[in-house]
């Protein structure tokens, strides 16, 4: 992979996209999300041939339930961390909220989406995208809202007696329907229809995008993929905030191995889910 080179200094530069906090959060999401799918889907798809096998492998429904609850706690932890980070970003760092390069959806996203469809169909040039594209914003906010909904409904079912001290019993009916459907929606979005493709399947990043694991990408790649952010930073003179010398060759190699391992993990996780869901349709 070529690295950005400052011709005068002879120093290789990279664009720093994700901080250690972002990368750490992503690991928490990855592990807990799959842990929850792994232990929850056998109950949702109780008639699937694989459900009984997975449950037996885990040592029974009670053991699977224990793992599910541990992972749920991890979920709560990263949700709280994320809310904390948002507060820090807004209050302490006074970061821009309604800005082209913030995670908040704006008018440009709508224009970009129309532009992308035109590009897909060969009717125009590819739109010049910002720090976060509209599908990345969808990914983030869907997971954020989803974690709140699925976590809330999960807690209601974890403590049904306490819940029904405050709410009527039908709240548990709602919680069950919501939890089960939100799980299915989130899993489809992450493993199949949106996240995995947009992160690793797009032509720009295929077969694997290292950025969420390493935190950086080559400057040329950045200029090509996020031209709008690049131009904004060029104009505002803030490019130095995000451009850094490239890590050593050894570190780069380590990140490549981590990415390979993590994408394999993701591929297996998605395969497991598809196997569980689709098996009853064929056998």
């Amino acid at each position: 992979m070529s690295q950005g080179t400052d011709a005068k200094e002879g120093v290789t530069l990279v664009y720093h996209r994700f901080s250690a906090f972002h990368r750490f959060s992503h690991y928490l999401v990855m592990v807990s999300f799959f842990g929850l799918v792994f232990t929850g889907f056998p109950l949702k798809f109780r008639d699937s041939y694989w459900s009984q096998i997975i449950i037996d492998l885990l040592g029974g429904v009670a053991a699977a339930g224990f793992v599910h609850r541990v992972m749920a706690v991890v979920n709560i932890v990263y949700f709280v961390l994320e809310v904390g980070y948002m507060s820090y970003y807004v209050v302490a760092r006074k970061g821009p909220i309604f800005h082209d390069d913030s995670i908040v959806p704006n008018k440009k996203d709508w224009a970009d989406m129309k532009g992308m469809f035109r590009w897909f169909l060969g009717l125009g040039a590819k739109p010049r995208l910002s720090r976060f594209t509209y599908w990345e914003k969808f990914d983030f906010w869907a997971l954020f809202a989803g974690t709140f909904l699925i976590g809330g409904s999960g807690l209601m079912m974890w403590f049904p007696e306490a819940t029904t001290r405050i709410l009527p019993g039908v709240a548990l009916n709602v919680a069950l329907v919501l939890h089960s459907n939100e799980a299915f929606l989130a899993t489809g979005v992450i493993f199949i229809f949106v996240h995995f493709f947009s992160a690793h399947g797009r032509p720009e990043s295929f077969p694997a995008d290292e950025v969420i694991f390493s935190g950086y990408l080559p400057v040329e790649h950045y200029i090509h993929e996020r031209p709008h952010e690049y131009e904004n930073r060029l104009k505002a003179g803030t490019l130095h905030q995000v451009v850094r010398p490239a890590p050593t060759a050894k570190r780069r190699r380590i990140f490549r191995w981590i990415t390979a391992a993590m994408t394999t993990f993701g591929f297996l996780a998605a395969s497991y889910t598809l196997l569980l869901i689709l098996w009853p349709l064929f056998f």
Binding site: P42, L43, S51, Q52, F120, G169, N173, V174, G201, P218
Partner: protein
């Protein structure tokens, strides 16, 4: 009865403190007698013939598959008994005539299935399971059995839930897992809504502690929910929930087990959440899928996938 006997036994033990061995002997005999008296199986003095001898004679013919079947109102009934299945059943050690009362060693008169049930089914079980039979008689199922012709309803007899020659061991997970389907044979549709709850799902996957139909509705003494004596009547539902959920309150009892969320009959809030998600899932998956396919199409068409590290 057992508790009373034990109490008197401990009283005796106090009296004879000078001889603890004697006390122990009296105590153990009392406890043994109490247990024997409390055991329904032993309540009746069943003079069972040697099962080996009696049953062997029956099985001379009935263990032969070529025996065929006889026609009955409920369809053909096989006359064949698989000795291994019978021996592994809860009644495996009992001779045939413990239930087929009135049959002798000699080749017997042919009786139809209906006749057998009408005359002896309840009575045969009652000989050993008197308590359960009394409860059953007072239950809704028992009431139906005395009015079996009404509306063409066929009342469930003991064997309909427990089986006959393959009679179930009720404490096993397999039996507990089969209960929803057993009930569903008459109460169609109710079993599937139950199986969609956490109780149903976890029981299906092997969690023995999960409640099934009989744990809430009652078993031998089952009554319609509208009956004040039902385990699920307004007065009784909370203690029933509290059998497993000691901290349950009134609100807990209003959880609805038998609803289909996508049915209009479900509470409106449940129905709206279910339908809302269905729509959301269809829209998001369709949009995401189309977006991804078009993206990949453009990438392939413009040769972007082959531009290795070209950024």
């Amino acid at each position: 009865m057992a508790a009373g006997a034990r109490k008197s036994a401990s009283g005796l033990a106090k009296e004879f403190t000078f001889s603890k061995w004697r006390a122990l002997r009296v105590l153990s005999i009392s406890v043994f007698l109490a247990l024997v008296a409390a055991s329904p199986a032993a309540a009746q003095d069943v003079t069972a013939p040697d099962p080996g001898e009696f049953s062997a004679r029956c099985l001379t013919c009935h263990a032969q598959e070529y025996l065929g079947s006889v026609a009955s109102e409920e369809g053909d009934k096989s006359l064949y008994i698989d000795p291994t299945v019978y021996e592994e059943s809860a009644h495996g050690i009992l001779p045939c005539n413990s239930c087929h009362a009135g049959f002798t060693h000699d080749p017997h008169q042919m009786v139809t299935n209906a006749e057998f049930f009408a005359e002896t089914a309840g009575e045969a079980c009652k000989n050993c399971h008197d308590d359960q039979f009394e409860m059953y008689k007072q239950s809704y199922h028992g009431e139906l059995s005395r009015d079996a012709t009404a509306d063409g309803v066929s009342a469930p007899l003991c064997v309909d839930c427990h089986g006959a020659h393959d009679i179930a061991r009720v404490e096993t997970l397999e039996y507990r897992q089969s209960i929803a389907d057993l009930c569903g044979r008459c109460h169609g549709g109710r079993e599937s809504t139950f199986l969609d709850t956490y109780h149903g799902k976890s029981l299906t996957l092997g969690r023995e502690a999960s409640a099934t139909c009989v744990d809430c509705h009652g078993d031998h003494s089952i009554l319609p929910v509208s009956n004040p004596l039902s385990k699920l009547s307004k007065a009784n539902i909370l203690p029933t929930c509290q059998e497993c959920h000691p901290d349950a309150t009134e609100g807990f009892t209003t959880f609805l087990v038998h609803i289909k969320p996508t049915s209009m009959k479900a509470p409106i809030v449940v129905f709206l959440v279910a339908m809302g998600y269905l729509a959301l899932i269809v829209v998001v998956f369709a949009f995401g899928g189309i977006h991804s396919i078009l993206y990949a199409y453009r990438g392939l068409k413009d040769g972007l996938y082959s531009r290795k590290g070209g950024h």
